[in-house]
């Protein structure tokens, strides 16, 4: 598993109130857009160590396992 990087994405604060979104953004919600064979959309997120983590950081280096983990009870 050395070549596999696992990234856990914790989304534990489940029903967080949503701000009012502009119309253009609404269409992006509730649409599962991912398909095998597609290029994974780039993202830049903060890790638990307050470091910036980009998906492209691992391009050509490691396979990435993204686990979106809802209801993880992080206390956050």
């Amino acid at each position: 598993m050395k070549h596999m990087l696992a990234l856990g994405l914790l989304a534990a604060a489940v029903l967080s109130a949503a701000p009012l979104m502009p119309q253009a953004e609404k269409s992006q919600v509730a649409k599962m857009t991912l398909k095998v064979g597609d290029t994974a959309p780039e993202f830049t997120l903060l890790s638990d160590g307050w470091k910036t983590v980009k998906l492209s950081d691992y391009r050509g280096k490691k396979n990435v396992f993204l686990a979106v983990y809802v209801l993880a009870f992080t206390g956050g």
């Binding site: 990234l7 029903l15 953004e25 638990d48 956050g76």
Partner: protein, 92 residues
């Protein structure tokens, strides 16, 4: 959606060895289509939450595996896929 601070406390508590990422502004969840809305009044201004999902991206940045919702609760299928990818890399 949790803050890095909450994730750090949780990481320490459960002893994870991989980064726990925060998507506070839900950008990543939206671009991956994992963010869902629930609104009893059906005017799309309700609550937002993320689905559980397991996604595997290979070294070239190509999605190799996607699993969402109830299927993603059990990570074993995704883990098998990880092993397969790893073996494929080893033979190159």
């Amino acid at each position: 959606m949790d803050s890095p601070a909450a994730n750090a406390a949780f990481a320490k508590q459960i002893g994870v060895t991989f980064p726990l990422l925060s998507d506070m502004n839900r950008k990543m969840l939206k671009s991956y289509g994992i963010l869902k809305t629930y609104d009893p009044a059906k005017n799309n201004e309700g609550y937002e939450w993320a689905l559980r999902a397991n996604i595997i991206v290979d070294k070239q940045g190509i999605i190799q595996f996607v699993e969402e919702g109830d299927d993603a609760v059990d990570p074993n299928t995704a883990l098998t896929m990880c092993t397969t990818l790893h073996k494929k890399d080893a033979t190159k």
